[in-house]
Amino acid sequence: MSTIVNEVRKGFYLDSVALMRLSAEIAAMGGIEEAVLMIGTPSNLQIMHDAGVLNATGENAGPNDLVIALRADGKGSANRALAHANKSLEGGALTSSQTEAKARTLRGGISLHPQANLALISTPGSYAAREARSALDAGLNVMIFSDNVSLEDETTLKQQAKARDLIVMGPDCGTAYLNGTPLAFANSLSHVTTPATTAAIAASGTGLQEFAVLLSRLGGNLKHGIGVGGRDLSDAVGAISTLQAIDLLAADNSVEQIVLISKPPGANTAKEVFEKLASCGKKVIACVFGYQQSDMPAGIEYAANLRDAAELASGNQFIEQGVEPLASELAAKVNSDGKQIVGLYSGGTLCTETQLALQKAGLNTASNAPAGTSANADNADNAAGSHLILDLGADEYTVGRPHPMMEPLVRVDAFTDALNNPSVAVIILDVVLGYGAHEDPSRAIVEVLSNHAVSHRPVIIACICGTESDPQGLQAQRNALTDAGIIVSNSNCGAAELAAAVVQHVS
């Protein structure tokens, strides 16, 4: 079975002789059936498609991008060839030019890419609004990765954008997919070959990542993931970007269904958002954390969690063995004092989803980022006896330190404490892969465990938010965790359900 691998280098120019030489070198490598390096013009994309070397990644290239397209007899050959291509392109063996790396200002970026229509702002929060305003003035849509942008600035920027037929994604928009292209912290979906007909609107961060990953595992494909920021659906902002996103997605004929992933909207905003969604002419699925089915208006399908949302969107379901036999087996390994679940999350939305899943199972929870009926973990009296689900990416853990998605060692202290705590029965961990994430997030977990015998430690359940085409490789990360005796769940929701079942067996 042939494997097609594409890589797109944005704004990358290589002279013809170097292009041809490298194409020929790669084509001559063992196991390579076809290899080309071509600029991504519409005609060339059609040519590569007709020649059977283009996949969804390559389809997103533009005329000023270089497409590396390979067809090989297997993943091993393809990866070797791609590595050779990248080494040649980056090692200076070929004289080339990568334009985007050198822009130092917004103005410089616009000069280098006059055709660009989006600016990604990632500056300290106090400067982000000013840069976003400059981008809007230059006619660019804006994705604000930065946090700590004031509510007033957010509202003003979104109103200015709307008046110019532009959109502001964010602030604190950590993840987005536009036309299949991942932006900021995002998973690679390049291995997915099915047509991308699903679009999502989300806050957005790991919720959107988890949805995109689960959808891809179920055979679906995400075309757009528009991040609107965590406050957009509040009454203060009035869902300005969400409403614009619905209009944009409704107008995209290739989008067949829209998935909304969010916290509960403000009371006044909810009506307008759901009315627009229900009348947008597409199938709509809403995963609103904390909503019940009865809260959902007619015409919108209800998803209780991200797994449900992915299953509804794909039309397929995960084949689960059922948690009971495994939960019973794991409960037997828990020491006699172990009663508590501790969740140590790098993803905020995953932390929320776990709290709600445990509450649904009848368990009390506490968190530094409370959701549903969770107690505030800072209040020791209220939190006593609750299962502790922590968002280690929250501000109080990341001031002056890297985010745990970028540096898993940040989680080591909390993980070690939980391992040494005899009252802990289950530890849940998220392992987030993809662009921007640590190159080997499982390593820090496995290294900590090397000092703890399997027989004297809590049950550890992990969910990996990642795909096989992510830079870290899903299978490699899964193997590292399972080799260390960690149970790896298909989804975050599944991890929470299994953890709940284990402590209920213990009880």
Partner: protein, 287 residues
């Protein structure tokens, strides 16, 4: 800082420099592109042919210049990054040769076109890989459509221009090179309204169908300007002489220009020459 000289400057290149400042878009072994807004200037070593976008310099290499570096032009000096200062104080302006004022001998032109086709045929290597076969197929269709458009005097060349633009490997795709050869030859021979129709169509479509660098060359070509190698050939073609060694040398120069740019440029030129050679006497270059 290395000090050097620009020996030849095309008009498009001069206009870019006169904008005063910009960034380096791309750097290659023996040339680089300077950008200011949408316009480009190509600075090269002495191996770079003279042309509308080109600033031929005495530099030997472009070490330590990277895409994104800034350039500025003031007081007859071009400064690129922290690497070099190029003087244009004694630079020659290069302009495209003017079309022939005498009538072109169509019988001789027919012989010359046949010679070029013969050379192209000898130079041709059949594609053996799927992508190369697809490219060749697309180029062949485009060539045939160009021929039919010329012969049938059709209204718009948009369909085949769109098909050819951005088709093929290389920095300037094969289809772009072919269109460049065709439109510059039509312009040089003043074959109207074909030259204007084709030029206008290329300009209107190229911004979305090919990369910035190829666009810049195509826009110059649509105005009748290309690098000197093509004019050397066109001057031989319109010299009303039998095919001779000078012609063969010009053909060989083009065939060996770039990886395949010269070949496809020649293919575009050959189609137009064959068409023009078939026109009735007196319809060519009577200005």
């Amino acid at each position: 800082m290395i000090k050097a000289t620009i020996t030849s400057l095309g008009d498009v290149a001069r206009n870019v420099l006169q904008e005063g400042a910009g960034v380096v878009l791309a750097v290659f072994n023996s040339s680089l592109y300077l950008q200011c807004r949408q316009s480009l200037c190509c600075v090269g070593t002495s191996s770079l042919p003279r042309g509308p976008l080109n600033a031929v310099s005495t530099l030997q290499k472009f070490g330590r210049i990277a895409a994104g570096d800034h350039w500025q032009f003031a007081d007859n000096h071009l400064t690129i990054g922290n690497y070099c200062v190029l003087s244009v104080a004694h630079t020659a302006r290069w302009v495209s040769p003017t079309p022939p004022e005498h009538p072109v001998d169509l019988q001789q032109l027919q012989n010359i076109a046949a010679t070029i086709h013969h050379c192209l045929k000898r130079h041709y290597v059949p594609p053996d890989k799927a992508v190369a076969i697809e490219i060749e197929s697309r180029i062949n269709h485009g060539e045939q459509a160009l021929q039919q458009w010329l012969i049938n005097n059709s209204d718009t060349p948009a369909v085949f221009v769109e098909q050819l633009l951005g088709s093929g490997d290389g920095l300037t795709p094969a289809g772009d090179d072919l269109l460049l050869g065709a439109v510059v030859t039509l312009k040089y021979l003043q074959i109207e309204p074909y030259a204007s129709l084709l030029g206008n169509t290329i300009v209107s479509l190229c911004s979305t169908r090919t990369n910035q660098i190829s666009q810049a060359h195509l826009c110059a070509a649509a105005s009748g300007h290309a690098n000197e190698l093509l004019y050397h050939l066109l001057q031989q073609c319109t010299g009303n002489r039998e095919p001779n060694d000078a012609l063969l040398a010009c053909i060989a120069q083009l065939l060996n220009y770039g990886h395949s740019s010269g070949v496809y440029t020649l293919r575009g030129t050959a189609i137009v020459l064959s068409f023009v050679a078939g026109l009735s006497a007196g319809s060519v270059s009577q200005s």
